[in-house]
Symmetry: C2
Subunit: 178 residues, 2 copies
């Protein structure tokens, strides 16, 4: 069948979902940006999402305190910023300045949108019961933005160890799937 | 900034993670296959995953009863089967037969691998506390398989309404990211 056993430590590389997102947070005058790949949709409407934010990340503190964030979706042009963002900590660095990204005021939350990202989703934390055990936050999207000119955004999908799959072409199949 | 407001009902199309997976389940002599996109990694090792399986799906019953499943990852060649699988119910159809897919015995769980998928992850349900409210199952990967010949698998990523992004090229960037 061609399939060989694969170390469990590499499972994340198979399922690494992407698109890689940049999560912005703000609390008490501080903002931060975090590179993140572990998120999923949970419900269509109102849109519920799950996101894993580790307690080791500075963003964890800001997210827990403010209960708000923005999920910004970058494309290939921002690949280096995505990696650099993942390799530095907001505890010691102003990431907007260091990564030359532009904060834009959101409509419903205090955390800023990132201007250079093709889409941004403003979110409120609605359930923290799984945070202590799993670092899992349940979020409700309350406002979403996207650049309509970008029909086929070249999003980045982390395959592990700095390897990113770039979104390719799109095919349309007759489907009843939502 | 180019970004326009986007209906909340389309948020899932922005974050639709992929790769689309085919989840196999087995209980009391019945097997089933489900097309699914709402999954994410939660922990590296042991690998923990979250997956949303709606109570409307026949697979929900099999997963809840058996507490085991296999997450199989298809590529472009299986696109039609992925869509057809999502448009039929295992309550009335033997999906392996209808979709001409080949079940292969798994090593650690009763649910079968799908031979035609380039990777398969055997999973056990470890936490069902979020099932009633969110249809959210927490899974531990206990065995993983992949075809090492497929270095750049053309996985499918559902953008909504039958539109699938096909995994494109891979770039490698110097990174400390795991």
């Amino acid at each position: 069948m061609g399939k060989k056993s694969c170390p469990l430590s590499r499972v994340y590389g198979l399922l690494e979902p992407g698109p890689v997102v940049l999560i912005t947070t703000a609390s008490k005058g501080r903002t931060n940006i975090m590179t993140q790949s572990w998120h999923m949709m949970m419900e269509f409407e109102p849109p519920l999402l799950a996101a894993i934010v580790s307690g080791r990340n500075y963003s964890f503190d800001l997210l827990k305190a403010s209960r708000e964030c923005v999920i910004n979706i970058p494309t290939l042009e921002l690949a280096q910023a995505v990696v650099d963002c993942g390799n530095t900590s907001g505890r010691t660095v102003d990431k907007f300045e260091a990564l030359r990204l532009t904060p834009v005021a959101a409509k419903c939350v205090a955390a800023p949108l990132i201007k250079e990202c093709y889409a941004s989703i403003e979110c409120r934390v609605t359930d923290t019961r799984m945070v202590n055990q799993y670092n899992l936050f349940i979020l409700e999207a309350v406002k979403a933005w996207r650049d309509p000119a970008q029909k086929n955004p070249r999003t980045l999908h982390h395959r592990g160890n700095g390897a990113f799959m770039i979104a390719g072409e799109t095919v349309k199949l007759p489907s009843k799937m939502k």
